[in-house]
Amino acid sequence: MATQDEANAILPTRTRRQKRSQTATLVLMGATPFVVLGLDPLHSEVRVFRDLQACQTALPGAQDYCETLNAEAANRHPSLAPKYTSRHQCESDFAHVTVNNSCENGWCSIDDLSICERKADGHYRPPFSAFLVDQSILDGTYEGTKPAPETLDDRQLQPVYSISDETLSSSGDEGQGSTYRSHTPFLWHYVMANGQYLGNQNLRDPVTRTKSQLAASTSRTFTGTSQRGGFGSTARQTMQAARS
């Protein structure tokens, strides 16, 4: 099984050379029999649920199970979420509008925004805004299999965060004359606690990621008061890799 470091080392290479290296070809050839059989040891398919209701819509026969999955993801949120010593820096990465209509048409409520929250440890964290569940767990519910959520590892169940489009699209396009390029706070994207990009706000379909990408690292603490945190940089890189 590839470790996190190995995967991180492979990812940029794949992106730049577009999987044309001999090594990559051999790896793909080696994985082909598993894929044909529907057994991919390197990848997992996950579903992202924006909220409890989205889960219950997808699993009409397992409404209570959705509640326990959501509750367990919320339990994991404080320990997995990226932490910031600066609220400004946290908001720089994560703050965005969640309810577009009211904010675009006029004055909007603070409840229509997703902004960072301060916890007892004094650090700022993005709010827990969604959760991901391994597709195989969801498939199992149709056969009546409902493993206790607390027994699922982080690759199978974890909180998901929403990052502003501004953060993902930025870098050095400010300050050119009287106008500058700017991005809307009305667009946002799903990311994992480790910065792994999952999809934009309209994400509905399952997402396939390598197991190492899905592994939740221990919560990272971002210090300082700079405009840009390292989290945004990670999210940008993984978004570009996911789209290539």
């Binding site: 609220r87 908001e91 703050a95 603070i110 700017s182 991005h183 706070p185």
Partner: protein, 302 residues
């Protein structure tokens, strides 16, 4: 640097209070006086047509002052000025037409000067066919000199309800509340996110493109005691729409009232500076006061 003495500060405070109180008491009193003149003794008043210099009586113009809306302040302080909108029905080319006039009335030396009609707007109000219910509007005739600005233009198209709300606002503005411009400086010291154009007393936000980083700092400041003086509904920043990209909004001002006319949002605000006002399309609505009353369009970049 010369430090002001206590007595100098006290005198300044007294003067500030006196000027403000005078301005406050005269807004509603003058509005009422003008309305009474219009309704009770209109024959003592004279009007000027747009771009003409012959004073005319209301009977010459076909204006029935009874139909006029309440006067709305257009300039506070020295030489106060009010706007009055009237609508009279007339036959134009055998068509029933509503003729709307917007007249500016300046008060000087204890009396009302000649009313300058700024705009004449005609709306064909004849019965329409069931296939075409749209009202035909004639081209508005504008006075080419002063006063004419975004404020006057917006008042020609403002709904009756909003016009009455505006008049009510101005009448309630003279409540004896003293503008506290020092607290505006505190708000200017904060780093405002580029996305935040306005902030209401209740925490509501008016947004445009840009980052929201720093929003919590603003909301935290808002929740502190005496964050906003009683007369302010919130804070507003001038912003101008650009074709490409976005311009960050300007310095915050105290939001007094907002209105919407012809699809554009406008704000009445109070500040102590109007630097760069022309570039931001800001219109001054005061003179000789220790603060500036301004009118500005809110053209968010979305």
């Amino acid at each position: 640097m010369v430090k002001p003495t206590f007595s100098a500060l006290a005198l300044a405070a007294c003067l500030f209070t006196t000027v403000t109180t005078q301005a406050e008491t005269t807004i509603s009193a003058l509005a009422e006086d003008l309305q009474q003149r219009l309704t009770q003794t209109p024959e003592t008043l004279r009007w000027l047509k747009p771009n003409k210099d012959e004073p005319l009586a209301h009977t010459d113009l076909g204006i029935d002052p009874e139909t006029c809306e309440a006067p709305v302040l257009a300039r506070a302080g020295t030489h106060p000025r009010f706007l009055v909108r009237c609508v009279n029905r007339a036959l134009v080319n055998f068509r029933v037409t509503d003729i709307q006039t917007l007249t500016s009335w300046a008060y000087a030396d204890g009396d009302w000067g000649t009313g300058q009609i700024i705009a004449i707007r005609g709306i064909d109000n004849s019965p329409t066919s069931r296939y075409n219910s749209r009202k035909v509007e004639y081209e508005t005739v504008w006075h080419k000199g002063e006063p004419a600005g975004p404020y006057e233009r917006s008042l020609t198209v403002l709904s009756e309800t909003d016009l009455r709300k505006l008049a009510k606002f101005w009448n309630s503005f003279d409540t004896g509340e003293l503008p506290v411009l020092e607290s505006l400086e505190q708000w200017r010291q904060l780093t405002w996110p580029d996305a935040v154009v306005g902030l209401r007393r209740n925490g509501q936000l008016l947004l445009q493109h840009g980052t929201l980083a720093g929003t919590s700092d603003l909301l935290e400041e808002l929740s502190s005691k005496d964050a906003l003086p009683p007369f302010a509904r919130g804070l507003i920043r001038p912003v101008k729409k650009v074709w490409r990209g976005t311009t960050p909004p300007g310095e915050p001002m105290f939001l007094l009232h907002s209105l919407r006319a012809n699809g554009t949002d406008y704000a009445l605000a109070l500040s102590d500076v109007t630097a760069g006002a022309a570039s931001q399309n800001i219109q001054r609505l005061s003179a000789g006061l220790p603060y500036e009353l301004v009118f500005l369009p809110i053209e968010r970049n979305l």
